[in-house]
Symmetry: C2
Subunit: 402 residues, 2 copies
């Protein structure tokens, strides 16, 4: 126990982003020596989309200075494009020798990944090369670092015919030539719903291969949709505040509903809202990363997969909940995605619960989110950025209220 809980040197790839920033602070607060590697691509994409976080996030330099003032802990920072600058990544691994690498450095929006050929191509190129470069550099450096990767529940696809989605691996039976049944356990067959989700399915094959060939120690976290904004650490000073995306590309569904209600925009439900999704609060995300680091696999173990989610909800039920809480109106709009109109979703999350996760429930966190964030920063909202305009094919229509 002492060994696994000792203070670690941790690289956080993509540590300036929505999940990466609060994770970096959380790990730093626990006493780990944190180094962020990030090319600030998420901020550059804000420039491209002419969109902005609802919350007033500070430049990374300010963030790190304030964190040191507040906590006394230094966090290192390198601006590196991990998809392109392999040599720099390798150099950092060889010189800093991290015990663990937390990998958030992928383009993470499904709608952004579907906007155009350029966006599809950027997402595939960036996500494949970053993940592969990290694995390749881990082998070349000869380090025994533990890689913790942020994956997505979306690799499973939705609609599982009465089955509870297991944590990464599926028990199956197949028939041998003799007619005998053979039991096997396989990586859950993926059915991704966007180019973004597809890249996370491809990541799984990279992890499986490097684990098999090079015995790399890897944990893959299949995360649900994150809601909420701040964590214990980002709450310590307004200049540490986390991003809150509300635009049609990067805003996650529940946060969008909260913001829409707060600014008097209709709560936009795509289609019937019959889609069931898995959710997790950002505070639980950072706690899950902590738990994943404490429970690293050995070199003889296969890739460890956790379902990182705490609740499932039907989108329409969430819209109604937010509507009741805020007196906001619901608008049923076209669904820009190509997906099943309705689906069931049952998910196992026993692994994190068994390791000590105590979930933040919607019930306790939602109202605080409305008053502390959505209403407080409503004045910063650009209403023109709210509709979801990225469509999955030419046949789909943007989700714009009439």
């Amino acid at each position: 126990m002492n060994l696994t809980n000792r203070k670690k040197k941790v690289f956080v790839l993509g540590g300036d982003g929505f999940c990466g920033w609060p994770t970096s602070l959380h790990l730093s607060n626990l006493g780990h020596e944190v180094t962020i590697i990030d090319n600030l691509s998420r901020r550059n994409i804000d420039n491209e989309l002419e969109a902005e976080s609802l919350t007033p996030i500070q430049p990374i330099g300010t963030r790190l200075k304030v964190w040191e003032e507040v906590s006394g802990n230094k966090i290192g920072f390198y601006n590196v494009n991990l998809a392109e600058d392999y040599e720099q990544l390798l150099h950092l691994l060889k010189t800093e020798k991290p015990d663990a690498i937390v990998h958030f450095a992928e383009q993470r929006s499904a709608p952004y990944s579907m906007k155009s050929s350029k966006h599809k191509r950027y997402t595939v190129n960036n996500n494949m090369n970053v993940t592969h470069n990290v694995l390749c550099a881990m082998v070349e450096s000869g380090l025994d670092s533990h890689l913790v990767h942020l994956g997505t529940m979306g690799v499973y696809g939705y609609g599982t015919a009465g089955m509870k989605i297991p944590e990464g691996y599926l028990d199956i039976e197949v028939k041998a030539e003799t007619g005998e049944r053979i039991e096997q356990q396989i990586l859950y067959p993926t059915n991704p719903g966007s180019i973004y989700h597809m890249t996370k399915s491809q990541d799984q094959l990279l992890f499986q291969y490097y684990n098999k060939n090079d015995n790399l120690r890897i944990t893959d976290l299949h995360q649900g949709i994150v809601w909420g904004t701040n964590t214990k650490e980002t709450n310590l000073d307004e200049r540490l505040i986390n991003r809150f995306d509300y635009d049609g590309d990067y805003g996650t569904v529940l946060n969008r509903f909260l913001m829409q209600a707060a600014v008097g925009y209709p709560i936009t439900v795509h289609g019937t809202g019959g889609q069931t999704r898995a959710f997790i609060h950002i505070q639980d995300t950072v706690r899950c990363i902590e738990l994943a680091l404490e429970n690293a696999p050995t070199r003889d173990e296969r890739v460890m997969i956790f379902n990182q989610m705490t609740e499932t909800h039907r989108v329409n039920d969430l819209a109604k909940l937010v509507s009741e809480m805020t007196d906001g109106d619901i608008a049923y709009v076209s669904n820009p995605r190509k997906e099943a109109a309705e689906n069931e979703l049952h998910v196992k999350n026993d692994l994190f619960l068994s390791k000590g996760l105590k979930p933040t429930t919607l019930q306790e966190g939602l109202l605080r989110e409305v008053t502390d964030i959505a209403k407080q920063y409503a004045y910063r909202a650009d209403h023109s950025k709210i509709p979801a305009t990225s469509t999955w094919t030419k046949e789909q229509k943007p989700g714009i209220p009439e």
Copy 2:
């Protein structure tokens, strides 16, 4: 029947390579209007490895000129890096509107893909971006072209516990929450044995996604190890001769054995030679592409997967066969690959047989290959390029005879 057999406009991506060149001639000879798109990367890799085809292949310009003289058919050619020049690819699709695209444009050697970080990274970056660019451009152009992709038997992995490997899709049973058994058919769970094979597994996810989201018509051919050199068309003039790779990176196992015997080099068996592999003659490869084009799926069908192989053999049995035929000695050397020492392999190939494939057997083709190719061009061999020196990890040793 008339419609499916009409003359087509066909792009052959990677049409200057070992499979691409004879395929281009075969399709041209059938009356299809063929355009090769190739950046000549395979020739550049020969430069890098300081290796060369045993057979004296001609520059692409000479090849095409001779083909026109011999057959009266023109084949078009564009030198395009498909991983990088997306706009040029899109332009060619929009202006030439091919009925079909045959895609050989991937780095295809497992040992090359494992040589170093640089080679691993090149293989992932090239193969992912080429395949994705093609799919992306097909959607953006709005064409209804049929994509035929050369995949590999290697995505299945080896050792299938008494099961006959199906053609791409596996029937499984899983347990529902109620305890009830549910039957499903899934993409065969992959277990690739090298970075190269891993990229072909990733390709499958790209195909599955673009077929689902955009109804692209795609055929994926899971090909065995190709042996032989020439086809009916490449035999028409020596200047049309196909590549014969014998070096440790690009030479395929049976062709290497033939060449080793012909030049008086020991027949190098890796490990015990207990590995069982699937094989196909190059003449059958080109025939399979023809059949795949004739049997295109509709827009409502899922990705069509064929196992493109005709025989399975244990590597050691092949070594003995070649040894008996040529009086060559066998040398058992270290296996540079990380793989099972022995495996069984049973493969279904009913689909191509049902479409009319008449396999070329080892028995009829092998001796001709020794006398017509290996012995005739033995004088061109550089013996220093024969050993397999690319090792899968630092623990593996190169396959060099003592």
